[in-house]
Symmetry: C2
Subunit: 305 residues, 2 copies
């Protein structure tokens, strides 16, 4: 085989985006492509047509194409099982579901990761970001903010437990559909840091009557003139992130140790700000955690073949 | 004036329903009407046309028509201010906004009730149910379950404080629009008491990582086979009501005293069941609390004129 044939292609295919990387045998990125071709945009299950359109010129018989993210879910191309905790990076390729493409490439759909205790939980895609944020034998607590935020414990390089918080999705629902969102001005305003911090403080206030009451006060406070309607959105964001952090910090194993926040810059900044507001230090994860995770995976693959 | 002219008409006009009562001077209901003509169904602010259509034959010059509920809000006919806490029944007619109808009736739009401490909060309509559920000088803690559940403290007949929980609205949003709702079977099933009670227990479990995590487990638990998808809706309902009750019981003044649950039967039963699940006794309010409240108001009016 030529060196062009023998690398690995990784496709990070989520609900709203398609990202592909071609790694060479040294684990370096030889090429990358990105498209607004998330699985929700793919009609009639024609995933292979989209794959050919986006990276058909990379595909040669015998090449490995590794898939991660929601493409491996019930709504994706091939549904894969979950690797249970504790889950090491090595568990992902070992549990992959293999298919052959029309043109003879080996398609390898990675599993997600699940845990049963202390609560049932699942992830698909975030595990790659986690493995890209820690060393091979490192122990750490990671926070991955987002639509479905994850708080994960990594012990000696393995994901040993995690919890998902519906923070981002609840914020989006309240903004788009609730009586609280109805008072928000329609024009997007610049981020109001003071309002956000006030929301965080409210979530941590001993007088808080919980999230279901706090979110209502984002409306009633504005109605009664306690703050302007322009502050509702960022107060609400601060409350929800504050409640997530309050719950996350109370988990066994997160109370005392250092936290590492992993994700895109803006959201990581918000979480760092919220943690600072309550006097808690935290570090940032690597800027491109998913790419770092895929690089570790490609190196592992290269060492195996 | 004839006795027909001198009674009081009360219109309980909410977002989704229109209920009208004609009280005689003894405070008894002489007639009642109901229509699916909530304020959200009224186009172009033509509220008076709807009023004439529904109860035009009751309206004579000089008669009092009292309005309560969301008809007095920003989205209603006439927006009224809020009566502050402590609020006695007498404060409502005293702060009413008066208009004259086309045909010379005196339209009296009641205020809502607001409080500023410990959190800003508002109600419009529930105050009538509260006054209909307590004696004139009674002290009690009331729970009014619903889209926007209220926990209210009444001291010597006056509403002295309250908190709103967005419980019902959050449930509806999660069911209709979230990733958790997506797994729920489309066909409505019978109420699953065991699933509901399991949700309540989860909210009160010391291992709960808060509402944002609990609601996600209603999805992940079903994905991992911990329970069937048919249980998701009632588990979620139990979790949300459980979190509301957990927060409500921690409020100053609710920890030890008796609770009275006020509302429509099905919802009251759910709250009684949730409270029983955690070993807490509670009583039921009167079956038609709003009517009882309007009756008290009508008697007050009759005594005044």
């Amino acid at each position: 085989v030529t060196s062009e044939d023998s690398g690995t292609i990784v496709v990070d295919w989520g609900s709203s985006s398609f990202r592909a990387y071609r790694f060479d045998e040294a684990g370096e990125i030889a090429a990358r492509r990105q498209a607004e071709a998330g699985i929700l945009t793919v009609a009639d299950g024609l995933f292979e047509d989209v794959l050919e359109r986006e990276i058909g010129d990379w595909i040669v018989p015998g090449i490995d194409v590794v898939f991660s993210g929601m493409i491996t879910s019930r709504n994706g191309w091939v549904e894969t099982p979950y690797a249970g905790t504790p889950a090491r990076l090595e568990a992902l390729p070992a549990a992959a579901v293999i298919r052959e493409s029309r043109r003879g490439a080996r398609l390898r759909f990675l599993p997600g990761v699940s845990t049963l205790a202390p609560r049932p939980d699942v992830m698909r895609g975030e595990e790659i970001q986690i493995f890209g944020s820690v060393g091979a034998e490192e122990t750490a607590t990671l926070v991955l903010p987002g639509t479905h935020s994850k708080w994960a414990t990594v012990t000696a390089g393995a994901i040993t437990g995690f919890r998902t918080f519906l923070t981002g999705e609840v914020f989006a629902l309240l903004k788009a559909h609730s009586i609280v969102g109805r008072l928000m001005p329609k024009d997007a305003a610049a981020f109001d840091e003071a309002a956000f911090r006030a929301g965080v403080r409210q979530a941590f206030d001993p007088g808080s009557a919980g999230l279901l009451n706090d979110v209502f006060t984002a409306r009633s406070g504005a109605l009664l003139g306690a703050f302007p309607v322009g502050e509702i959105a960022d107060r609400l964001s601060g409350m929800l992130i504050g409640h997530e952090i309050r719950s996350g910090l109370a988990l066994p194993g997160t109370v005392d140790g250092p936290l590492r926040i992993v994700g895109e810059d803006g959201l990581v900044e918000r979480y760092m700000m919220a943690l600072a507001e309550i006097g808690r230090a935290a570090g940032k994860g690597p800027p491109h955690a998913a790419v770092a995770g895929f690089r570790r995976l490609a190196l592992l693959e290269a060492g195996r073949t």
